[in-house]
Amino acid sequence: MAAGMRRSAIEYHRPERLADVFELRGAPDTWLVAGGTDLMVRVREGAVRPRAIVSLRRIPELGGIEVADGARIGALTRVSQIVRDGRLGERWTALALAARSLGSAQIRNMATVGGNLCNASPCADLAPPLLAADARATVVSPRGSREMDLADLFEGPRVTALAPDEVLQDIRLGAPPAGSRSIFLKKGRVAMDIALASISVQLLVDSGCLRSVRVAAGSLAPTPVRLRRVEAALEGKPPDEDVLSLARAAACEEVRPISDVRASADYRRHLAGAFVERAVRSLAGGNGR
């Protein structure tokens, strides 16, 4: 009952202009919400006690998907919109696979790209494929807008590099290298689980050697991360057994997983290595889904 009383006192704002978002969020204990799939649970559990919630759903500047050579994905884009967008799936297969693997149909209809990223959870499913695609993030504030590497958005578990007055506007993707393919692999105990570990790889095979290799990981460090040493172990090399074995070892070494109720750090390390090997085999074997 006490929780219900607290909840009934929470203000809920639905601004239609970015300028109003900036003004409203200046008040103390004010939280921004997009899809609400994370915040609404945390409010219910008392993990956060907002005085006011500001819904971003009506802000036109934060929506929309545009695809040309590259893509611009508005922060309010729902995960189900990514699943349905064939243009994105064709060029950024790993992103589509990650979107499809996220939660349930119900969750995908609510959860947004911006929410998934700005929660800064180490296990955000959309982060590894976006990191492996060299995504950039556009951030807006009353002071103007700026762009940053998506990798620089994540500072720690639930901590982003956004200033208190900044809002993520969109994600920008450059054209993937010609001939490149990508894949996303994730382990959960059952379909609805948060990822125990996930790996996204983007690469191309040129004259029998791996090129433009990008490897990113989820649930394997305090933030979603690029695995640069794994990339170096693969770049320019043929995907033979020796190289795969070195890449697998590099992945086990480079990740910094924790042990928690869902999996031990050792098991997560094992998954990191196994997924890197499996991803490269799959992409180099030509069936790069």
């Binding site: 009934s8 609400g36 819904s55 209809n109």
Partner: protein, 162 residues
């Protein structure tokens, strides 16, 4: 402090006074008396509270009611035809015993109905995947998948007849 919220439920326009941050599930089950929608986990994991908003399944336990203003909500009460007629999905659940304690059933049927609208001929894997956000703690999944498969077949045949 309450605010007015106007939307459409099962084809009927409604206007209710709500706490600004109230959840859709509480407004449906409380002032609107639509108790077919269940609250299980309250975290968006079990799907017992599944309703359609503008035709798309969502978890009513995570949906702020003010976000349905001006939109159309369909609950389990709006899935069947007039006069208590059962939909093909509901009929198939009855025939196959796709129901044990019944608590997950409204959410299962709402999700399955939406699944079959977008995919009229799903494989068993697609049915299981489509229902992965709906948990049955009696674990009656075999009968539930049987029910959805047969409902799909019945709906395809009905469509072919017309």
């Amino acid at each position: 402090m309450k605010v007015e919220c106007a939307f459409v439920v099962n084809g009927e326009p409604v206007c209710v006074d709500v706490a600004p941050a109230a959840r859709l599930v509480d407004v449906l089950r409380g002032p609107l008396g639509l108790t077919g929608t269940k609250e299980g986990c309250g975290n968006g994991e079990c799907g017992a509270c599944t309703v359609l908003v503008d035709g798309e399944p969502v978890n009513a336990c995570l949906f702020p009611v003010l976000e349905v203003e001006g939109r159309e909500v369909t609950t389990i009460e709006g899935i069947g035809g007039p006069g208590g007629a059962l939909s093909p999905v509901q009929e198939a659940f009855v025939r196959h015993g796709g129901i044990q304690c019944g608590f997950c059933t409204p959410g299962m049927i709402v999700t399955a109905t939406s699944l079959l609208r977008s995919n009229p001929d799903p494989s068993d894997d697609e049915i299981r995947d489509g229902l992965r956000g709906n948990l049955c703690r009696c674990t009656g999944y075999v009968q539930i998948v049987d029910s959805v498969r047969e409902a799909a077949k019945a709906m395809r045949e009905e469509g072919a007849d017309e």
